[in-house]
Symmetry: C2
């Protein structure tokens, strides 16, 4: 059984952990793993070069979480992390002082950056990084090309020494908007710099084409899933795969489960609701993505309308509080695929 | 007063600390520093790219020591160092497991590598790194070009699966010979890879030309001072400067003060003695380097012969045990220059 998941960072990681848990139970390989092949096609739009190091927040969040090496209290990065190198970098005036790279995390960035400079693709570098861990999931960047999400915001600062110009805007890297400004600056638009020349990797396209089931994790529909979908080749592969495509809502009762999906949805004019996100992805029968959609029981009222619109919709508990509820959601997603 | 010092790493650092101490006392600027301008022209032959990071052992040893941030017990690196990033790099199979980069030290390498990739010269990157600290010495790499010392050793391993070929040799980076093999593999030759196209920096040449005194620190005469001297432009600048040139012996009573200068001297066929090193540098009157030479009191017997050969030689205590003895040696070197 081959399952391919489109995923962002932390939300994708938690969903994938449930999937691994469920498939290890239902498809055991007798050695503590699963015979099912799980592949995650991961968003790389948040990636950035920082002080000469290639940082891939979503790939790393998923890798650390599946490895059991993540900081579950803080919600990001490695467990038992320290920040001694970052303090030195700040003392030298290098990097972003508000974007702290942990010491353990830096080992990952240094290794990856070194391999990329040696000529490996991001796909190959990711394979080398994940070799070390026992993840149960093959991690694939959606693209090997650089296509980074930037956010257009009002230029409230204006040119040096001058008054701000009414209507002036500027573009900042997604991580600056997300981490430094905590998504509090109204986003006027999201743009993928470099998207014109970015292509999906052959591995990602094959993972979609060869899948028995394609799942869309409850990740940010704009800057995680939306960015994956914007890469040349991905939408075509999804349109042509014989696998059913099941999405999981990142919105429960009109609020983002985590992160700041609400701010992102508002920026692109999509209502913050499980129904609106499903309609944004669209029914596959009408050129959209979804065969089926899972929304939370509290949003069950929208199920009938979505089903009528061509998206088989089920209401299930979406709050992932522990391994059990995560595995139950994975089960529900797989059930929806075979319905 | 302008003093320019040719220096290697740890030995150079200790000598420079004495010089700063002495000149702060004799030429105070009223703000805790000195009006004397001390410039160190530092060996870069030990430098290397490791996992995409530019490591400059001698520049960093001197910077940390003058900043008071060095590990005086261990004798190298930063005080209070940890090695969490290195452990991660090793887990990913990146870098040299026997060449540990400390976490605090890595901040330096990341900043420098980033600036070099942005197009700064090593001279400019070094200036930025040292801005952070209050060193009392301007640090200049001898060259901005890559010219790394390699050591030719017997190829005792042979090709994979075959017996070693008699007389076969291989070349390894100086740091591999020094750190991994602790200089225990007999060195057949030292070679600077890239030396044909390496040139002294304008800043280093000016520091020599404009100096009132040039001092040669008691650093390794082969792989530290010798490497500096091999860079195009340095010997000519030393020949033409109007400043007297005073060297300090790195050999006391027939043994290296620190490091493994003895193994290096033997490799180039120079006896391990204060006199032989002085003759190796040579009297300036005969196309060599030295106007004057300081050797240890225990080697005083060689003074007459060296003086007769054209090198004014003084016997003084050379063991640097603390700030006082280091300052006394600096005083003696400055006295020898004005003799």
């Amino acid at each position: 059984m081959k399952i391919t998941v489109l995923a962002g960072g932390v939300g994708g990681a938690r969903f994938l952990m449930g999937l691994v848990s469920e498939l290890t139970r239902t498809h055991p390989d007798g050695e503590g793993g699963s015979t099912a092949e799980i592949t995650a096609v991961v968003n790389t739009g948040d990636d950035l070069w920082l002080a000469g190091l290639r940082v891939c927040p979503d790939l790393d969040s998923i890798m650390y979480a599946l490895a059991g090496a993540n900081d579950t209290e803080r919600g990001w990065g490695r467990a038992g992390e320290t920040e001694r190198v970052s303090a030195e970098m700040t003392a030298y005036g290098v990097g972003w002082p508000w974007f702290t790279l942990g010491d353990l995390d830096l080992g990952t960035h240094i290794a990856r950056s070194h391999w990329l400079r040696e000529g490996l693709t991001l796909t190959e570098a990711t394979a080398r990084l994940t070799e070390r861990w026992s993840l149960g999931v093959r991690l694939l960047p959606a693209t090997n090309d650089r296509a980074e999400t930037h956010v257009t915001v009002a230029d409230s600062e204006g040119p040096l020494g001058a008054d701000p110009v009414a209507g002036a805007t500027r573009s900042i890297h997604f991580e600056e908007w997300w981490v430094k400004h905590r998504a509090a600056l109204p986003a006027l638009a999201f743009t993928q710099l470099g998207i014109e020349t970015a292509h999906a990797t052959p591995e990602a396209l094959a993972a979609i084409a060869d899948a028995d089931v394609v799942l869309i994790a409850p990740s940010n529909p704009v800057v995680s899933i939306g960015t994956i979908l914007s890469i040349a080749g991905i939408r075509e592969a999804l349109a042509h795969t014989s696998a059913p495509i099941v999405g999981v809502s990142p919105i429960i009762s009109g609020a983002a489960v985590r992160g700041m999906a609400d701010a992102c949805l508002r920026a692109i004019g999509v209502e913050v609701s499980a129904e609106a996100v499903a309609r944004h992805y669209g029914p596959r029968t009408a050129g959209g993505l979804l065969d089926a959609w899972l929304l939370d029981e509290t949003d069950a009222a929208a199920a009938a309308a979505l089903s009528a619109a061509g998206i088989r919709t089920s209401a299930v508990p979406l709050w992932l509080t522990d391994e059990r509820t995560s595995a139950d959601l994975a089960r529900a997603a797989l059930d929806a695929a075979s319905a």
